[in-house]
Symmetry: C2
Subunit: 203 residues, 2 copies
Amino acid sequence: MTEPNPVRRRRGRGARERILAAATELFTAQGINATGMDQLSTVAGVSKRTLYVHFPSKDELVQAYLQSLEDDLLPAPASPDRPAPGPREQLLAIFDGQPPDPSAPLRGCPFLNVSVEMPDPGHPAHRLAAEHKREFARRLTAIARQAGIPDPETLGEQLALLFDGAAARATALNSTHTGPCARSIAETLIDAAFARGGPVASP
Amino acid sequence: MTEPNPVRRRRGRGARERILAAATELFTAQGINATGMDQLSTVAGVSKRTLYVHFPSKDELVQAYLQSLEDDLLPAPASPDRPAPGPREQLLAIFDGQPPDPSAPLRGCPFLNVSVEMPDPGHPAHRLAAEHKREFARRLTAIARQAGIPDPETLGEQLALLFDGAAARATALNSTHTGPCARSIAETLIDAAFARGGPVASP
């Protein structure tokens, strides 16, 4: 292994980052199938050759795009920088996303959108989306379990479904009202679950 | 106005129906953006010329495709052929769709899918999808209002969001488990709404 030329390495990283930024911008604004490699290389400011060096196929770019979003879009575990709030707040935090850009159409969840644009469940991008959606529910289940809520799997799956309903309906209606609607249902479910499992539960 | 030749009229109607059937098949299996007019004319068994006589643009075909689905996918009002069940059953009936074809991927709701594939909220197909989604909630609201449920708009919007969550998550996970999950949340919400508004409501 030789130490790569630092200038080249920096330039190389820059190109990959610019391509991913262009992919995020264009896939969000237009959808994946409506975005071609020509436009991607133009918007990223790289040659087609450089684009294909980093991403030999569009499918590989789509996968890297999804992986780059993954961490931001999963319920985050507590960390030293981010002490955990109570479990109720942790569960409800999925409905408190960043305020959207008012000048752009709402685009809901990129993982749901990929599963619509790539209908084949065996497609690598569709499989990544499905795995993300399962992991999303698993993290909610883990929070619910740690809080002593009975049947945490059911609550995790219910909250994930509410999140997806808010995202899909926001896209269709281009409206931010769906988040608070889903959140209010989630509050009802969480409070009922705590009432069943908590120290003040009635038989 | 002259009476059209009945043979020609029958043949004309047949072509339009075959084109719409091909569009439904291909849009469902592949998505809209992945389906071209060439393939549509081949699968429908019509010439490109005939295809364009019936649908001068793909956008017009997409709109006709959505309109052909509309009636089947909205909560249906009662009719002499279909006496109304109780309001609880009417509201929950949205979760009792036809069993899906086990040999094909699940594709959720075509109106949600269109809104993902055509991200521009001003696109005619996206607007049709948004209007369908609003009408879906309005019909549920009307059933809830007639049943004397307080704040029927909120319940209508909540149930529509649950329907969309089940559809979107079914597409991502290729799983039929999301319908029963959404239905169980809906039962909780409906029963709570009846308890608040019904004759046995407590203050």
